[in-house]
């Protein structure tokens, strides 16, 4: 196994022990290191203006090592995994490591925890920080012992001089290390894989004990003395306004103190609060009762014309028409003109809501010169920027405390709910906590886009696939920021569509127009959800049309092992293709691994079936074999899912597995029942009775995750498991029943067979 290289050389490690960083987080007299971004020179340029370290590590004279977690914890285990990398390079004992959550602050680099990029973007910088601190402790000990520091190493929270068997604990060296300069990049030595105790093996998550005892603090648990509670009745249609309201009955509810009208959001809605009427009171229950008593007359505005039934039909027509050509190879029109036969299918997927178990919520306290918020945010710097703009404060007058997130899935990247709390706190003159109800959450989300796909293949006289014409249409996330946007961004189109990996000589990828009428946002794996569904189902349909085994057929569609050549239209999740190639060999290997472990081809009775799908996203490849069981009267269960995963180096394998297990459930939710619809601009669903997410007996019963042992650069983990799940399940339904699912969710379909 190879060891991941640090590329290019690290830079910018600084000893900041005497510069007062970290305020009260670590004790006085601690040794504190900051390390700036080592990877991209463009980013380093901003670091040079003023020293802006983005990772902190402190060692107190007691020996306690404090590591700052700067990314948001929403269940991936990142608050454990990144500090674990530092601790391992340092040679610290995990039991003596304390983790502190960073507030929103540009000093830490990007804190926008989305895009499955925390490990890939910060793995190296964490190693640099740990290795730098180790080097300084080794030098401090070497000076005491009067030996060469290269003869020293660290192990078990001590510096060790091997040849004389002498040791010095970290804490004893703190005073000496404070006086040292950090090492030059060329003097850093990184541990080899065999020397690492935690990376590639894992440690228990740092918040586990607090979670199982109820002591973990989520956003909804934040409190302040004198705090008021708020619940907000928002315009039911995006962009709607309050025409008139009567709060008499509301104000009569015991505990209700005020009703405050908030100005409605206008397009572009971006991350702005929606407006509405806020009920302020002395308890959550008072505000909820008060809201029920409100009488409001709304002016719905232009989006009242939005109804899913008509919109979705138009969206499919737009997908079929296509229009904007994203990728064009060979001569697709000639191939179709020469075709012996064609295979065509359309696919449709609905709007989806994130529905994190903790709804959006935030606590704020605002004075003339300080705004403080406590919020479960994936993106504290955006909240900081918006709040600074809101109140005319500088960034250092806005403190965003990041709590644990009770789920995020992309919803909590947006700061609308944080700004709501701050506006109300300012208005009320006391701390205010805003808690969204589940109904608020389901009706006012940043929805995953509704989509339609049109897929066509041309086959010649030998039944070879000679051309693919693929077209997708969906309201782009761009519409949330630019109401005139009509097309998907390169990023969205490159999520499993313009990067289709098949070895077909003529390929054209198109994108039809679509408008946005609700706030569209990114949801765990984003456009990959519908693109993987369309592509993976269509390949399964092609296999059936050609009379081939679906898995063998998929292998043959991949063509030869190669790095896929893609043009400028392809953004590769923000990474250069030279660094993270689209490697067909790795995609094929996960497909084979999933098929092998699932015993693809095994005999199953009628009503049971296996389905295959594989997908590369966020620089990782995941292949899935789903087994379904459909009773004659159409009841579906999912007895087993096999997932083969190549995410490069698995820094914390157990958390990779848990993310994949979770992705199987999340993806099953997409397949089974997830559907948001609108009528007259209003969202028709409201809570878990009509927006259904899988329960324990509906979820895949046995999820087997098969990790590819790899020393390649780490890829994404949080999202890549989701896209292949729904198509694998639906391909299995076809194998079991002969029924082809072209429109999600499955709840729309009668699966009975005879």
């Amino acid at each position: 196994m190879t060891t991941t290289s640090i590329d290019p050389a690290p830079q910018g490690v600084m000893n900041v022990s005497r510069r007062g960083f970290l305020g009260g987080l670590v004790g006085a007299g601690s040794f504190v290191l900051g390390a700036s971004w080592p990877l991209a020179s463009a980013r380093a340029a901003s670091v040079n203006e003023a020293f802006a370290p983005n990772v902190f590590l402190a060692i107190a004279p007691s020996g306690v090592v404090t590591i700052i977690a700067h990314r948001s914890e929403m269940g991936t285990g990142i608050r454990t995994s990144l500090p674990m990398v530092v601790a391992d390079e340092l040679g610290a004992l995990w039991e003596r490591v304390t983790i502190e959550q960073a507030p929103g602050d540009r000093s830490f680099g990007s804190q926008n925890t989305d895009g499955s990029r925390s490990i890939r973007r910060f793995y190296d910088v964490m190693r640099v920080a740990g290795a730098s601190a180790r080097n300084m402790l080794e030098r401090a000990a070497a000076a005491r012992w009067n030996v060469a520091h290269t003869e020293c190493t660290t192990r078990g929270h001590e510096v060790v001089h091997e040849s004389t068997n002498r040791t010095l604990p970290f804490g004893d060296l703190v005073a000496d290390a404070i006086a040292l300069d950090p090492p030059a990049a060329e003097d850093l030595r990184y541990r080899t894989r065999s020397e690492l105790n935690y990376v590639g093996k894992g440690v228990p998550i740092t918040d586990g004990q607090d979670i199982v005892t109820g002591r973990a603090t989520f956003g909804i648990d934040a409190t302040l003395p004198g705090m008021k509670y708020a619940s907000i009745e928002r315009p039911p249609v995006l962009g709607g306004t309050v025409r008139a309201y009567d709060a008499t009955a509301t104000l009569a509810v015991p505990g209700v103190e005020r009703v405050i009208e908030l100005s409605s959001s206008t397009a572009p809605h971006a991350f702005k609060p929606l407006g509405g009427l806020a009920v302020i009171g002395t308890s959550t229950w008072a505000t909820l009762r008060g809201r029920q008593a409100l009488e409001v007359e709304w002016d719905d505005g232009a989006n009242a014309s939005y109804s899913s039934e008509t919109y979705d039909a138009a969206l499919l027509a737009s997908a079929q028409a296509g229009g904007r050509v994203v990728r064009d190879e060979g001569d697709v029109d000639a191939a179709f003109a020469d075709a012996t036969r064609t295979v065509e299918a359309n696919y449709e997927l609905p709007l989806l809501s994130h529905a994190p178990m903790e709804p959006p919520c935030a606590l704020a306290r605002v004075t003339d010169d300080l705004c403080e918020v406590w919020a479960p945010t994936q993106n504290p710097q955006t909240a900081q920027d918006m709040l600074a703009g809101e109140f005319g404060l500088s960034r250092d007058q806005v403190v965003v405390h990041v709590t644990l997130l009770g789920g995020g899935f992309g919803r909590k990247s947006k700061a609308d709910f944080v700004v709501e709390a701050a506006r109300l706190a300012r208005e009320v003159g006391a701390p205010v906590k805003v808690t969204w109800t589940r109904e608020d959450d389901v009706r006012h989300d940043y929805y995953h886009a509704v989509s339609a796909l049109s897929m066509k293949a041309a086959l010649n006289g030998d039944d070879d696939v000679t051309a693919l014409r693929m077209s997708t249409a969906f309201p782009s996330i761009s519409t949330t920021f630019d109401p005139t946007a009509r097309h998907g961004s390169d990023g969205e189109l490159g999520q499993g569509f313009s990067d289709v990996p098949f070895a077909v000589p003529n390929i054209r990828v198109e994108n039809g127009e679509a408008r946005g009428h609700v706030r569209i946002g990114w949801l765990r794996s984003v456009a990959n959800i519908y693109h993987a569904f369309g592509v993976s189902t269509f390949v399964d349909e092609l296999a059936a049309a050609r009379g081939r085994d679906p898995f063998e057929h998929w292998l043959s569609m991949l063509g030869t092992d190669r790095d896929l050549a893609l043009g400028d239209f392809y953004s590769n999740y923000g990474e250069p293709l030279e660094r993270y190639p689209y490697d067909i060999k790795r995609l094929r290997a996960v497909g084979q691994l999933a098929a092998d472990r699932a015993e693809w081809g095994r005999d199953l009775p009628r009503g049971r079936g296996l389905g295959f799908a594989a997908h590369r996203s966020f620089l990782a490849s995941v292949a899935v074999v789903a087994e379904v069981d459909v009773t004659q009267d159409g009841q579906l269960t999912i007895p087993r899912i096999d997932m083969a995963v190549d995410c490069g180096l698995a820094v914390h394998p157990d958390r990779v597995r848990s993310q994949m297990e979770g992705a199987a459930v999340f993806g099953a939710g997409v397949a089974l029942a997830g559907e948001i619809t609108a009528k007259d601009g209003r969202i028709e669903q409201s809570n878990f009775h009509d927006y259904k997410i899988p329960r324990i007996y509906e979820a895949p019963q046995d999820v087997r995750v098969h990790l590819v042992e790899s020393g390649e650069l780490p890829g994404g983990v949080g999202e890549p498991g989701v896209p292949p799940i729904a198509p694998a399940i639906c391909n299995a339904v076809f194998a079991a029943t002969g029924k082809r699912i072209r429109r999600l969710p499955l709840a729309r379909h009668d699966l009975s067979w005879s």
Binding site: E73, M74, G75, G77, P204, I205, D207, G208, Q209, D210, I211, V212, T213, G214, R215, A216, F218, I220, D221, T223, G255, S283, T284, W285, L288, R289, A355, P356, M357, E358, P359, L404, L405, G406, G407, G408, T435, T437, R438, E439, D654, S658, Q659, E661, G662, A663, A664, V665, F666, N687, F688, H689, I693, P694, I696, Y697, A699, P700, D702, V703
Partner: protein, 152 residues
């Protein structure tokens, strides 16, 4: 005035609107924030507590309806954070975001109090009211089996 026994302590809730669901009394009035809000209509199980020993969703449970009854929350589940389920949960690495896990644990604890050797079907039935958006179900099932073994 409503009186409840909460985690063994007698509590007189004289200043609280008696229509208030127990969930908000626990969270807003008593500072017992381990019990979570998820849906407000008894659909998701995040607010599961034990009411006279039975797993109960308390987001739709006005305190006037449970006067004199005994309530156990996660804060009172074990003396030293050492309920076999809590230990099994950590051992199996069940939690992801962790938000629903208190409710999951309370449902599981009520199950094991009645059934010391539950089958997968028993578990699925007892846990069917508890949603987990992170998708930790397979580990929940194996952790319940592990805790049951430890308790036998």
């Amino acid at each position: 005035m409503v009186t409840l026994r909460i985690n063994g302590d007698e509590m007189s809730l004289d200043d609280v609107d008696p229509t208030t669901p127990l969930l908000w009394v626990l969270r807003d009035h008593l500072g017992l924030t381990g019990t979570k809000f998820g849906c407000g209509m008894g659909q998701c199980g995040s607010c599961t507590i034990h009411l006279d020993g039975r797993a109960t969703r308390c987001c739709v449970l006005p305190i006037r309806d449970i006067d004199g009854m005994s309530v156990t929350t996660i804060e009172g589940l074990s003396e030293d954070d050492d309920h076999p389920l809590q230990e099994a949960w950590v051992e199996a690495g069940v939690p992801q975001c962790g938000y629903c896990q208190v409710g999951q644990l309370m449902s599981a604890a009520a199950l094991l109090a009645d059934n010391d050797e539950p089958s997968d079907d028993d578990i699925d039935r007892a846990m069917s009211g508890n949603l987990c958006r992170c998708g930790t179900y397979t580990r929940i099932r194996s952790a319940i089996h592990a805790a049951a073994r430890a308790m036998r």
